[in-house]
Amino acid sequence: MLRDLRDDFPILTRTVRNGRPLVYLDSGATAQRPLAVLEAEAGFSREHNGAVARGAHLLAEEATDAFETARASVAELIGASADEVVWTSGATAALNLVANGMLQASLGAGGAGADRFRVGPGDRIVVTELEHHANLIPWQQLAARTGAELAWIPVDDAGELILDGLSEVITGNTRVVAFTHASNVTGVITDVEPIVRRAREVGALTVLDGCQSVPHIPVDVAQLGADLMAFSGHKMLGPTGVGALWGRKELLDALPPSIFGGGAIAIVTMETTTWLEAPTRFEPGTQPVAQAVGMGAAARYLMDLGMENVARHEARIAQILREGAAALPGVRLIGPVGDPERFDVLGLAAVAVEGVHTHDVGQVLDDRGIAARVGHHCAQPLHRRLGLTGSTRASAHVYTTEDDAHAFVEALAGVREFFGVTV
């Protein structure tokens, strides 16, 4: 299991409402950062800050080196090579980079090499019904702008993806399938293989949302078989303001950029521009350099812990949260209880309390020093499908203790009584 690492996270010693110690269970929204990350980021700014890849002076050299070393660390975490990792400002930006690149291609950018990225009337774009808005709206809007059709893999009444009818959803005219590797609401880790297999059969690109998987379980892009994957720094113990897109090199080299500026180009005239290879072509303007260095440090920190150990730790937390919540009268756990021994769920639990609104549930938790998340967690369609407008979510990370998880379940147990709701 994990070593005792609470001391690595300064914020965890804080007290919150009424002087209570902080029970941080909102890591699915944003994780806390260890000193190693804070120091890497601040130390860079204090000692090595310079313009990356642009200057001939020593600071510029050191900054470039730190930036590229960080890229290599992030690549190593997901089993990729460094030139397949593009820095972005976050997962949302990374997913939009792909969808907007496809929009550019569909409007004629990128020449013949960009053919595989073109969509239009008669083509299909596939997502799932449980996607985070960040992996739904870019595709929905790409469809609206190009005349392609949006279809989705549906979920059942329990919130699980229905993979039975895959070939009716991922039809022959499907050009891209975008889906999450792990749901930020149900906590279920997606069975990637059948979706990728079907997508390949019809020649569709696959785009994984790795936001909730990369920080919590071992992820190996070669083994997953998808074409592209997005993830964020701040959910994997890194800084805000940075994220990454991984993609097969030949795809990245052919995808037209959709954000334009300096540093990404070979030759610019007033009339035309030629772009460099990936990843540089997607990194116009001053990059989040200090943040990339921080994200690199976060990747190192996680690799030092060992992602298997991280997953095992969180599986234990998952069990307490999910079994605990599911057992409470009047509490509905969204998604299956799961079998943490098989690592099929994340260390999170989103629940609906019968008769009590999620905001009110959150208020009770907050009063006890428990930081959880309330609302639709940027997954309105999923909640609507399940007959809910919102839920209350507790989500863990490496620093979450069993006591934290028990505190959530216990607080939850008292909510209905507080609001005078009886079965």
């Binding site: 009424n18 009590v356 609104h357 999620t358 905001h359 009110d360 208020q363 009770v364 009063d367 309330v374 609302g375 639709h376 309105q380 909640h383 407008t389 919102g390 507080f418 609001f419 005078g420």
Partner: protein, 161 residues
């Protein structure tokens, strides 16, 4: 502040009672309707306000939300139905002031205006909940403006006829 201080009994009662709930058809000459959404949680309210001369004649609404938003709409409905337009405006301003007051009580005059609505004083300590408490008031404000415009339009038209 304790949780009990925020969820005062008045609030709990109003959340259950829901004064004014039910979207009746309005008959006043001045009618307005507003739909408001709280984007964080998807809570919604549709409110209809009828104006008769100088009076808020009817308040009717439908919606769903947390106990704070539901109670706040109920209090508002009970408080303002039948009141003069001027009182409605003043009460609206007082409630907004209460929300900005970070948990501190207002002056006596405005407290009198607010009546049961003073119970929401604790909400001002929780910025994330202010939106909840204001949801209905925003809808009311918006519907009232429409109702007034319609009402004075009707008056003018009537005058011309």
């Amino acid at each position: 502040m304790s949780l009990e201080a925020m969820y005062q009994q008045v609030i709990m009662d109003h959340a259950r009672e829901g004064h004014g709930r039910g979207l009746v058809d309005l008959t006043s000459a001045g009618r307005g309707e507003s739909h408001q959404v709280n984007p964080t949680c998807g809570d919604e309210v549709t409110m209809r306000v009828g104006v008769d001369g100088d009076t808020v004649a009817t308040i009717a609404w439908e919606g769903h939300g947390c106990s704070i938003s539901q109670a706040s709409i109920s209090v508002l409905s009970e408080l303002l139905e039948g009141e003069s337009l001027d009182t409605a405006d003043e009460t609206y301003d007082a409630f907004r002031a209460l929300m900005q007051a970070k948990g501190e009580p207002l002056d006596e005059e405005r407290e009198d205006l607010l009546g049961d609505a003073t119970a929401f004083v604790g909400v001002g300590k929780y910025p994330a909940r202010i939106k909840c408490a204001l949801l209905g008031w925003m809808a009311f404000r918006d519907a009232l403006i429409q109702a007034r415009t319609a009402s004075s339009g009707a008056a003018v038209e009537g005058g011309e006829a």
